[in-house]
């Protein structure tokens, strides 16, 4: 293991001299990733198979200069040379060797991309071996344990200068007109594909971009691997959803799936529908949804365009998983619903309209203005408007009360304007229904106000009653005291006052009681 070399700016240097440019600040605070960058330490290489006794590479002649007879042999030798790995975390080590490998890789890429007749059978295993050796590695744990894909800068792969060329080679290899799937399938097997899929967890987006294109070609050309690939992707997603909630390559995998879904044959196989219901829809519950939502929504809409009967599953699924506290997600869900409604068939719409518009009504009354806005903006969509118009009788009652109430209560003026637009649209659609609903809304309001008044009256009555009782009790207590004092002073007890004292016991009689006791007292 090489010793950890500290980068020039050691962590102990005073950070006060390092001023954060304002572009790196969010809301006046420097981003988390910037803070971490200052404390960066070099860590061990991602390629654990780094050989300490380095094999010296000798530069080979150029491919383009080689005579035809020696071409394939030279090609093979170069492939073997490229199986040697270098440490890129140490910037100064093996510069010569690195350059030789880089040049060799470049040549190989050129050769596969341009020349014909290069890819002969014996080259396949060598090529795949070289690729495997270079790209298959255990990915290092993230430098930033709290890596937030939305906020933070990703950690880039250090050996990208070579790695990029290897990926480029692989891609050209697959896309070459001489490429023979029947030959390749012996070497690009399930084990290979599984390792390829694991690499999608790389933090480096450039790597994932290559992997995405490569896997797309592999899926397209190697038919025998298709079912296996789909199954493994399912596993990855399910693990992501239910176990780890961590995987960097969800968006890329979804993009590939998008192109696969687009090509589904009709009628849709049960396997695919299961995938939709068991994997794609639950994927909406992930915390980091914003990273891959666009691709996910695309997949969902593609499904709908293939087979309209899945619509109900999709919408009910989304309603089931509707975010309850995360408004950012709610806005995303609303965007997806609009895209779905854009392609929905009217017969399917009717099946889901009631629960859907109940949810939309709930969104309209959300105190978060973006959620309310997004929901109200549906009425600006012509196709959705035509769907609503056809089912006005069902939909208007569901949203009417909410619209009216929110228009009076909401703090945000833009929302109030949008609500006016929606109400006006409804008014133009069907005046009578609108008037009927207005009338019944007013009646409801009156009833409610009446109930409120009655409740207030009841409480007031009880309070007054209580006050009167307290009054009487205090008076009774006073009378008692007076009598006692008299008794102590030796005044003759008067029978009448004694009687009145008894009659003063707490019994809610109107002021007649106190007046009689008063009369009694003056009598004595």
């Amino acid at each position: 293991m090489e010793t950890t070399k500290l980068p020039p700016s050691s962590p102990s240097s005073p950070t006060t001299s390092f001023s954060v440019p304002s572009a790196e600040k969010v809301d006046g605070f420097p981003r988390r990733s910037m803070r971490r960058a200052r404390q960066r330490r070099s860590h061990s290489s991602s390629q654990f198979r780094y050989q300490s006794s380095q094999v010296e590479l000798t530069p080979l002649p150029l491919l383009k200069d080689a005579p035809v007879a020696e071409l394939h042999d030279l090609f093979c030798k170069k492939l073997q040379q490229c199986c040697v790995l270098f440490d890129f975390l140490d910037c100064v080590a093996d510069l010569k060797g690195k350059e030789i490998k880089r040049a060799a890789l470049n040549e190989l890429v050129e050769s596969v991309a341009t020349s014909r007749g290069v890819l002969i059978e014996p080259l396949y295993p060598e090529a795949i071996k070289m690729i495997s050796v270079n790209i298959f590695r255990t990915l290092p744990p993230s430098e930033n344990p709290e890596f937030d894909p939305e906020e933070d800068e990703p950690t880039l792969e250090a050996s990208w200068p070579h790695l990029q060329l290897v990926y480029e080679f692989f891609l050209r290899f697959l896309e070459s007109p001489d490429f023979q799937p029947s030959m390749a399938k012996r070497y690009v097997d399930q084990k290979f594909v599984l390792q390829l899929l694991e690499l999608f967890d790389s933090e480096d987006p450039r790597e994932r971009e290559y992997l995405k294109t490569i896997l797309h070609r592999v899926y397209g050309k190697l038919l025998g691997l298709r079912a296996y690939i789909r199954k493994q992707i399912n596993n990855i997603f399910l693990r992501f959803i239910y176990e780890t909630e961590h995987f960097n390559g969800v968006a890329e995998l979804l993009e590939i799936l998008g192109s696969i879904i687009n090509g589904f044959a009709l009628p849709l196989k049960a396997e695919h529908k299961q995938f939709l219901v068991r994997v794609l829809i639950p994927l909406h519950t992930a915390k980091s949804l914003s990273i891959f939502h666009a691709q996910l929504a695309y997949c969902v809409v593609q499904f709908m365009e293939k087979d309209a009967t899945v619509t109900e599953y999709i919408i009910r699924g989304l309603l089931k998983y509707w975010p309850k506290t995360c408004t950012q997600k709610e806005v995303m869900f609303l965007g997806e619903i609009e895209e779905i409604l854009d392609v929905i068939e009217p017969s399917q719409f009717i099946r889901v309209q009631e629960p859907l518009f109940r949810q939309i009504a709930a969104c309209i009354s959300s105190p978060h203005f973006q959620v309310a806005e997004r929901a109200l903006y549906f009425w600006n969509n012509e196709y959705i408007l035509s769907l609503i118009e056809e089912n006005c009788q069902v939909i208007l009652p569901l949203v009417f009360a909410t619209l009216y109430r929110v228009s009076k209560e909401h703090w945000n003026q833009t929302i109030v304007s949008l609500i006016y637009n929606v109400l006006k649209t409804f008014m133009e659609m069907n005046s009578k229904l609108f008037d009927d609903l207005t009338a019944s809304y007013k009646v409801e309001k009156q009833k409610e106000m009446k109930r409120e008044r009655e409740r207030a009256d009841l409480w007031r009555g009880l309070e007054e009653h209580q006050d009167r009782r307290m009054q009487m009790l205090t008076e009774a207590a006073r009378n008692q005291r007076n009598l006692q004092e008299r008794g102590e002073r030796g005044d003759p007890p008067s029978p009448s006052s004694l009687q009145t004292a008894h009659s003063d016991q707490p019994e809610p009689k109107p002021s007649g009681a106190s007046s009689s006791s008063g009369a009694g007292e003056s009598a004595t």
Partner: protein
């Protein structure tokens, strides 16, 4: 109020109503105008009145405010020729004037709010000036005798004569129907007393109450309204109301309204319309049987229902191609 007082009130209003009628010649001129940028047409006026109704409803103003506003508007339009681009200002001014008369101060929407919600292009000071102009031209007095005045009186009279009148005849419903009629300029030509009576008769006919019908006739005789006039307007009212009540939904005029959202929402609106970069991979029927190595993993017995395990080709051929070939040769 007792029945006698009501009838007296009725007479008084009847004598007054002519003062508040829009000039018939003016109304006819508007009705005969074709769609044109320089003059107000009937369609133009009707659309504006519907806008006024939307605002009335939105701000919670009463039907009375609306009816008064329309009355002011029609009287003004019948008198003064204005350009269509000013119609918006005139109508909102009328609404605001009517609201100031009818509504309580605390319920009045400030002019700025009216303009903002109504998406109008003029300013509050424009509104103020227009109000003065309208008031001046119409010799504006607070109270106007409108169809609603009569409707209200008729309703009270009907109630005073029938014990269960309240259940049969709903004033709200009549008001809604009146509103529907006023949205068409032709009804502004009718005398308010006649229009109101037509509406009343229409509703009585719908609820089929003999007692009420008698009361309606009584009112007609009291006010000396001719049969011919009543019949004319009753027919028109009936037609309008059947349009209004039809369950068919009409397509709203979408382009008129402005949909303004906040910057953040606008940014996110079309972020999903991404064109996919990866070309489509078509699915083949014989996918899984091409390769023999991958066969064992894939060939698990599949059921057709959605409860079968993921990854199995539930709807593929039961015997894979290569096995079937073996079977044939066996």
């Amino acid at each position: 109020m007792d029945a006698f007082k009501l009838m007296k009130e009725l007479r008084v209003n009847y004598e007054q109503e002519a003062h508040y009628l829009p000039r018939e010649t003016g109304l006819r001129l508007i009705e005969s105008t074709t769609e044109d940028d320089s003059r107000i047409s009937a369609k133009c006026r009707d659309a504006k009145v519907e806008d006024v109704w939307s605002l009335t409803s939105f701000f919670g103003y009463s039907t009375q405010t609306f009816v008064l506003a329309v009355n002011l508007l029609d009287r003004f339009l019948a008198m003064i020729r204005i350009q269509p681009k000013h119609l918006s200002c005139v109508s909102v001014s009328c609404l605001h004037m009517a609201a100031k008369v009818t509504e309580e101060e605390c319920n009045l929407a400030p002019p700025v709010e009216l303009i903002r919600i109504g998406q109008c292009r003029f300013t509050a000071s424009d509104l103020c000036r227009m109000e003065k102009i309208v008031a001046e031209k119409l010799n504006f007095k607070s109270k106007a005798v409108t169809a609603l005045t009569f409707l209200d009186l008729y309703h009270q009279i009907a109630l005073s004569h029938c014990t269960d009148g309240k259940e049969i005849l709903s004033l709200e419903k009549l008001e809604a129907q009146l509103k529907a009629c006023l949205c068409r300029i032709s009804f502004s030509k009718a005398k308010p007393s006649v229009l109101a009576l037509s509406l009343l008769r229409q509703e009585i006919h719908a609820v089929q109450s003999e007692d009420m019908l008698e009361i309606a006739c009584h009112i007609q005789r009291h006010l000396k309204i001719t049969d011919a006039e009543l019949r004319l307007w009753s027919e028109r009212v009936a037609r309008r109301l059947s349009d209004y009540s039809s369950p068919e939904c009409s397509k709203p005029n979408h382009r008129k309204l402005q949909w303004i959202v906040s910057r953040r929402t606008a940014q996110n609106l079309h972020s999903y319309r991404t064109v996919p970069e990866l070309p489509t991979i078509p699915e083949h029927c014989w996918d899984e049987s091409e390769s023999e190595d991958s066969c064992e993993d894939v060939m698990s017995s599949g059921e057709e229902s959605l409860s079968s395990s993921l990854g199995s080709d539930a709807e593929g051929p039961y015997f894979p191609l290569h096995l079937r070939r073996q079977h044939l040769h066996a």
